[in-house]
Symmetry: C2
């Protein structure tokens, strides 16, 4: 049981994953990739693909998992930076934008499959994004003493805005323009935060006067 074999298998599995990831781009969606193309890019015979995935769909779901992992990495990194002090919103947006720059394709996958054509994919993507949202919701609730529903609405709106901005950022090559987009996004998140806090305060006053 030395594992030479299993090791090799894992390696070509990664080659398939990377091949698919590489072929994703602005002009190429996952659903437009063919099994043959991916196998070829990975240096495999088409039929060997089946030794690793039963389907292109299965590969796709694996990629979504990969994307979820990246998202969690993002959260960890942002938390670390926040712990060192600074504006929470600014740091979060900046970290997110860096992620998009270095992992454009995997982020594109999330965006496309979110409103994509396969129910399984959509469900998987939505799950990842929901996890992300919930994590943020928790943080907001504790940090700002918000009611659960207010925190959720804020988190949900914030994630929507940030993901949308990320999608736009993917189409911008000019750095100055991207920075401007980031600034705008930060301001929009502040709008939302402000509104949420205000509702929360109003409710608190109402409770006190009862």
């Amino acid at each position: 049981m030395s594992g030479v074999r299993a090791q090799q298998k894992e390696k070509t599995r990664r080659q398939l994953i990377n091949a698919a990831l590489k072929q994703l781009s602005a002009e190429r969606s996952f659903s437009s990739l063919s099994l043959r193309e991916v196998a070829k890019e990975a240096g495999l015979a088409p039929t060997s693909f089946y030794r690793h995935f039963s389907d292109m769909d299965e590969l796709g779901l694996t990629l979504v998992d990969e994307a979820g992992l990246t998202l969690r990495q993002l959260m960890r990194q942002a938390r670390q930076r926040i712990a060192k002090g600074g504006s929470v919103i600014q740091i979060s947006v900046q970290t997110f934008m860096e992620l998009i720059e270095s992992n454009g394709n995997i982020f594109r996958l999330l965006l496309r499959e979110r409103s994509g054509t396969s129910a399984a994919f959509r469900a998987a993507v939505i799950r990842e994004i929901r996890y992300f949202t919930m994590e943020l919701c928790d943080y907001l609730q504790k940090a700002n003493q918000l009611d659960a529903d207010v925190a959720y609405m804020q988190a949900n709106a914030a994630v929507t805005i940030v993901f949308s901005a990320g999608s736009d950022a993917l189409d911008i090559e000019d750095k100055a323009e991207r920075d401007q987009l980031a600034q705008q996004t930060i301001q929009q998140l502040r709008f939302i935060a402000r509104g949420a806090l205000e509702l929360s305060d109003r409710r608190k006053k109402l409770r006190r006067n009862r």
Copy 2:
């Protein structure tokens, strides 16, 4: 030049458009439609397709135009209702949700092609949405006396939130759930409006004290 011929041509052209629209659904994206399928659905021989569009892409762009038209219809309708009094945000969201219910497929097209695979499509969709955003921006600027940049950020955020909610609504069949989503969206838009107004006020004070 009675136009019997041109009339007939226009009719089958519409049949092609409607055929494509009909085949769009949660499980079927435009890019996954084939020329042959659309022609068949329209009751045409595959090769006759070319008498009307040189490409599936050309048909697609026509559909995006159609969607833009629908969007403008929406704005008109919302304005009429608003003129009769009531909460602007509430009426807008409600009108939007009605549109989605009755024109799900065309709205899906917009959502999908926005982050889709064809540069031409993306550009066309972005143009339509930008128009929509600018219209809202104008309104906000005048109605709330906002600075141009603040109004734009609010409009942009609002449109993002509403479109995202629309996308979610497409996957919900339960009416009560959809209503809840609408309520949440309304609240989120109020957050944003609140934040924008607050920034605007702060700026005004700053100017006064100069």
